[in-house]
Symmetry: C2
Subunit: 339 residues, 2 copies
C-alpha cells in the first residue's frame, strides 16, 4: 500500500511553506500562479487527498477529542486539559493532546494528522505564531469539512466556531481597580508584546482602569516583554529606574520575577510594592510571599469547551450553525503580595 | 459500517473490569471459567478483534509516536515531553499525548485506542494504579503484536522493553550524603507510600546513606504521605513533634510545603533546617528561599526515550530483541534552602 503524501512532504519537496501548499491547493490568489501550478501538479502526481475528513466523518465515530495547545509546561493549559478530561471521561470520550510548541507549522501538521480519522472534533488554543501570522485557513478548512472546533483562550475572531474565553480586558481592569481602591496611583504594568491577544487585552484593561480613575498614563511604567525566558533583566531595570507603589503583571512568571528582583534591590513586598499577577498556578501559590492573582477558572474553561464540543458532536441538527462564545468569569485570589 | 466493539464496551456491557475482559480473551486461568466463556461469547457475537495492531503495522507507518503519562500538571512529565518532542520533530515524527490520570483503566483504554492504527510506537510512564495492581498485560500485549514500547521513569521490571530511568536510589543517596557531609546527622525524610516505585527507591537511597555513615535510623523522622493534596498537616506535625537539622523530600511539592510549614512555626530555612527536594521545576526555582534539588535531566530523559523508540522503529532487524535500559545521570542543583 502506497503511503499517503502529506502537506508537509509536499512543502519539503518543493521547498515552500506548508501554508503556501495549502493555499495553492485551494487556488488562492495570494500565491503566484507558477507556484500554484507546481504544487497542484505535484499533489496530483502523488495522489494527495485533502478531503479525507468529510468522508470518514459520516461513517465513523471515534469518540475521541483532539486537543491542540501551544505548550504543556504552562500551568494554565495543563489545567484546562484537566477540565476537558473530566467532562470527556464522564461522557465516554477519550482525549488526545498535541502541542504546537507556539509554531504555526506544527499546529497545521497536528491538525492535519488528527483530522485524518483519529478524532471527532477539536478543542484548541492558537500558537503565538498563528496569532502573529493571522493565518487561520487550516482551522476554517477543518470546519468547512464538517468537523467541529471549539477554540479557547487564544481564539481567532475571524473564525466562525464555538469559543470559550475569559474577559481578559475586564479581569485586568478589576485587578488594577483593586489596586487603585487600596489607594495606589503609581501602578506599573508588566505585559507581553501586543500580538499575543491576551497580553494586548490585559494591557487595555490596565489602561482603562487608569483612565476611568483619571490617573495619567506614564509610559515609562509600562514594560512589554518579548523574551519570556530572559525577563528578569528588563524587570530589574524597570524597578531600578522608576518609583511606583504597585505592579500589575499579566502572568505569574512576570509577577514572581518582579518579587525576586525587588528582593534583590532591597524592596519589600508588599510593604514597598504590592504585586498582582495573572493565572493561579503553582508559582503564585508557593512563592514567598504568595502572590495575589487573577484566577481564570481554567478547570471550568476546559469543562465548558468539552461540553460545547460534545453537544455539537451529538446534536442531530447539523445545519444550524448557531455558534456561541462563552465567557468564563474570573476572580481575584488575595494572598500575601498585596497590602 | 458497524462500529468496532472495544474492550471498554464489553466490560461495561458485562459489568466486569477491563482487565477481566482482556484476561478472559487470552483464556487466563486467573478468571473463572464462567466469566471467560461469557466474555468470549460476547466478543465473538460483536466481532471483537484484538489483533488489529499487527495487521496494520506492517503496511502503514504513521510517523507518529504515542506518549502515555500519568498526569500533565506535573513539571517532570511535561518536561520529558519537551525532550520527546524535540527529537521527534528533528526526525520527522509527530507526537500524540494521552493521560492515564493515574488510572489503570484509562491507561488500558488509551493504549487500545492509540495502538489501533494511530501511532507506530509508545513512550510511556505507568500510572500509580497500574504500579499498585502490577497488571501489565496491556503493555505486553502491544509488544507481542510487534509495536515497540519504551518505558520511562515509572517502569515495570517484568516487561521486556527498552527503558529510560534515573537511578533514584543513587540520586537520593547522593543528596542525603551531601547533607551528611555538611555535618548534619538528624535528617528527616518526606516520602510517598511504597507502591510508587520512585518513592520506594528514593527512600532506600536515604536509608543506605544513613547506614553507610553509621547514623542510626529514627523511624519517627520518616514520613510517608499518601494524599499529596493534603500533605501540609502531616508535614507540620512532623516539624512540630521532632527536632532535626535537615530534610530530604522526594519531590518539590513536599519540599516547598516543608518550607511553608517551617515558616509558620517560626523556623528559618536554611538557618534552622536545610532542605533538599527532588525535581528541578518551577516551584524549586521560584520559591523563596529557592530550593536545592536533585535535577533529573528530564529533557535528556525524553530525548533518549524518543531516540530509542525511533531507532527500533527504523531498524531493519526486527527479530533481534536486545532491550536496553538506559540510566540518565542526575545532579544536585544547589540553591538557598541548604546551608
Amino acid at each position: 500500500m502506497k503511503r499517503k503524501v502529506t502537506l508537509k512532504q509536499i512543502a519539503k519537496e518543493l521547498d515552500v511553506s506548508i501554508s503556501t501548499v495549502s493555499k495553492s491547493l485551494k487556488d488562492s490568489p495570494e500565491i503566484s500562479e507558477d507556484t500554484r501550478k507546481k504544487v497542484r501538479a505535484f499533489a496530483k502526481l502523488y495522489n494527495y487527498k485533502p478531503n479525507l475528513i468529510a468522508l470518514s466523518l459520516k461513517n465513523k465515530k471515534t469518540k475521541t477529542i483532539g486537543v491542540i495547545i501551544p505548550e504543556i509546561i504552562h500551568h494554565f493549559f495543563a489545567t484546562v486539559i484537566s477540565g476537558i478530561e473530566h467532562i470527556a471521561n464522564e461522557k465516554g470520550y477519550n482525549v488526545i493532546v498535541c502541542l504546537s510548541d507556539e509554531s504555526f507549522d506544527k499546529e497545521v501538521i497536528n491538525m492535519e494528522m488528527l483530522a485524518n480519522g483519529s478524532i471527532d472534533g477539536f478543542i484548541m488554543s492558537l500558537s503565538k505564531e498563528t496569532q502573529q501570522k493571522k493565518d487561520f485557513h487550516h482551522i476554517s478548512e477543518v470546519i468547512n469539512q464538517g468537523m467541529p472546533v471549539v477554540m479557547f483562550d487564544r481564539v481567532a475572531n475571524d473564525i466562525l466556531s464555538d469559543k470559550v474565553i475569559i474577559d481578559d480586558n475586564l479581569a485586568a481592569f478589576e485587578a488594577v481597580q483593586f489596586l487603585i481602591d487600596k489607594g495606589f496611583n503609581k501602578i506599573a504594568l508588566i505585559s507581553t508584546i501586543d500580538y499575543i491577544s491576551v497580553g494586548k487585552l490585559r494591557t487595555e484593561g490596565y489602561l482603562k482602569a487608569l483612565r476611568s480613575n483619571n490617573i495619567p498614563i506614564d509610559e515609562s511604567l509600562i514594560l512589554k516583554i518579548e523574551d519570556m525566558d530572559n525577563c528578569s533583566d528588563e524587570i530589574e531595570l524597570l524597578l531600578k529606574n522608576n518609583t511606583f507603589d504597585a505592579i500589575f503583571a499579566v502572568n505569574e512568571l512576570f509577577a514572581v520575577t518582579a518579587i525576586k528582583s525587588a528582593n534583590k534591590l532591597g524592596l519589600k513586598i508588599p510593604e514597598d510594592i504590592s504585586i498582582i499577577g495573572f493565572t493561579d498556578g503553582m508559582i503564585s501559590k508557593y512563592s514567598s510571599p504568595s502572590i495575589t492573582t487573577v484566577s481564570q477558572n481554567e478547570i471550568k474553561m476546559g469543562e465548558r469547551a468539552a461540553i460545547m464540543l460534545i453537544e455539537r458532536l451529538e446534536s442531530e441538527e447539523e445545519d444550524e450553525e448557531h455558534y456561541k462564545t462563552e465567557v468564563i468569569g474570573t476572580h481575584l485570589v488575595e494572598r500575601e503580595s498585596t497590602l
